[in-house]
Symmetry: C2
Subunit: 194 residues, 2 copies
């Protein structure tokens, strides 16, 4: 329908939303507060997003896409699978350290029940490119001892804790150093057989 709504205001609303959601949680954040911070009136928010849930969903989807981009950027068929997987983790961690608010919101949605079915599907299927990489690694004999669930758990979840610590100023080492340690320990942990 109406596509005359300003892209600028939509962006302002979304930015205000991640900002508040990541520090207060999205249930504890009234829509009025979001529109206020975005510099628009209460009603305007609902011209850009049908419901609050629609806003959350849009936000989540856009973050999901951004992370998927980070994943895809790191995939280069010409280098060894091992290096590719490490690069993906590195790339994702870089993105997360650069976008801590988005990451915290993302984790919040991930760990909160009762999200739209559509959104839930995205959670479960996750990132297919990484899945393919995992399959490739398994079929080539690397990673033979590790099942998909443990692989994904080791790959994704520690990142969230690192970002939390970072946001609360509780990360005492250098970010680059931390990323490298996280990448290395993830890989070495998987590689071992038997």
């Amino acid at each position: 329908m109406s596509r005359h709504l300003s892209e600028e205001k939509r962006k302002a609303l979304m930015e205000a939303a991640v900002d508040l959601f990541s520090t207060q949680g999205f249930h504890a954040t009234p829509t009025q507060q979001i529109s206020e911070r975005a510099g628009v009136s209460a009603g305007t928010l609902f011209r850009y997003f049908q419901t609050k849930e629609d806003l959350i969903d849009t936000l989540y989807t856009s973050i999901h896409r951004a992370i998927a981009n980070a994943v895809n950027e790191a995939i280069r068929p010409e280098i060894p699978v091992e290096e590719q997987i490490k690069n993906v983790k590195r790339q994702v961690l870089h993105w997360m350290f650069e976008n801590p608010k988005e990451t915290i919101f993302f984790e919040q949605v991930t760990s909160t029940p009762n999200i739209t079915e559509m959104t839930k599907d995205k959670l479960l299927i996750r990132f297919s490119a990484l899945d393919e990489l995992y399959q490739k690694a398994v079929s080539r004999g690397i990673l033979k001892g590790i099942n998909r669930e443990v692989f994904l758990a080791n790959f994704w979840y520690p990142n969230f804790m690192l970002i939390h610590l970072h946001s609360f100023g509780k990360l005492h080492s250098d970010i680059e150093e931390t990323i490298e340690q996280s990448v290395a320990s993830m890989w070495c942990g998987m590689e071992q057989k038997q």
Copy 2:
């Protein structure tokens, strides 16, 4: 003050609460629903817990204590530090697989901002026994390459994803097998030097 309140009802309320919190999230769960499921009237809940937040806090504290117990049970000064750390992880994972609702609620509180300060402190300090174990491992030359944050992230967070997958019936391997893989990959990931 009044200690004539039945311990039975307190327990029923807490059980109803974790039950609902873990499936709906605690913001999306009205106190009425909790008291209803516990088989008491709406007002009774507030005789046992001053506020809803008090209930959440009590619940969180009790789960924290249960996990701390699991940690402490696994600590046996007579065996090598390496084995102790592995045992702690094993023990914690067992507890979590046996108490998935509590675990999911615990993760929810952990990853949600705006919790009471007291509760927050518990989050940051975490489990001192494990911390001591980490220090010991570092001072004995094992684990020298890994800083505390990455260690904790690798130790705790993957567990949450495994429990999630388990609760949604998306964990296709045997639980024991999964626990062993998770323990082994965690340790191997840390041990490596340089």
